[in-house]
Symmetry: C3
Subunit: 143 residues, 3 copies
């Protein structure tokens, strides 16, 4: 398993981590040849998740964050004393991880897809875990 | 890695792709014997996701789509010029992929579960990527 | 593949299943040595999902359930005759499964993370499927 860290700069932010994940895949390729399988991108945090969405127009990320804030406002009715229950809920809505197919050692993201670390309670230093899962030399190949 | 394409016929639609995924597993079985592991069903799009939910009563899908449209309406306040930010948000809420356990070469879906391609900005031609991940001959077997 | 069952005691509940998943990993380790890879924790149900979130303060779970009930109320406008469309929608929002990285035979959950079975239409007996996916002896190791 591998990992890297990122620093977020605001309370809420979608941080593009595609280059970091791609760099880890290149390391694996140097050591073991072209990877076939999928790569798990995992946030070990409870107020930061991982999603995959559009990377071309930054307004998409802004609209996503603004609408998530509308759906899950910082509600004074929340009981959790730390006051960041909204961040916990948004993290589960986005999910703590994403699994991206890999073929020929490359992420098989769609043309417009980028991988984002979704910060909902920053700014903080965040760790992202990366685990490669091979499709194996038997079943799953040949397609 | 394998893939197939589907055509959606409306702006928003949950399209049952269980048969397509099962057919790919049968291909893998013919080539490599019964598969043990899990199958990644991945949408390389940013306005179409993948979910798993009930297949028996089509009203469940209708209720899901109608309620998602209430939660994330086509808001005139969105900044993204293409005007489909709602579709991007719904895609991240459902997720771009699902991972389904496989044993004896068969999808281990529950009795009522079907795999859906969630179209949020159709009608379009959509690609679905399928990557099989084996549980290996060692760890993970024997259970 | 392995599985275990849990009993929920309310209509809506986040049930901590981390110990059950960890016990299965210990079984795998006894049989095959320390596992490297990831473990798929999968709900074969359409009104119960899986999420990962904070385990320290039970108020977080209460806030999450209360806010999900606000986002997706038991709407009399739903068409599905069983009257539990809200449970289906919440299940897709949380997701039917989570994939947790494993290294040295241990779940690589963050300090505050626990794995939850999210009951949205209980009380019921629920099954959880667990499939281990190894990172392989080649690619993915060494990091």
């Amino acid at each position: 398993m591998r990992q890297f860290s990122v620093s977020t700069t605001r309370r809420e932010e979608f941080l593009d981590i595609t280059a970091e994940v791609a760099a880890i895949l290149r390391d694996i390729e140097r050591e073991s040849g072209p990877a076939e399988g999928a790569v798990l991108v995992y946030s070990p945090h409870t107020t930061a998740g991982i999603t995959i969405n559009e990377g071309a127009d930054p307004d998409v990320r802004r609209d996503m964050l603004a609408h998530l804030a509308k759906l899950v406002p910082c509600d004074p009715g929340f009981r959790h004393a730390e006051g960041n229950s909204d961040a916990h809920i948004k993290t589960s809505l986005m999910g703590p991880s994403q699994l991206v197919p890999v073929t020929g050692g490359r992420l098989k993201l769609g043309t417009w897809q980028k991988i984002y670390c979704c910060e909902f309670d920053g700014p903080r230093r965040r760790t992202v875990l990366v685990q490669f899962l091979p499709s194996g030399s038997g079943a799953g190949e040949g397609g």
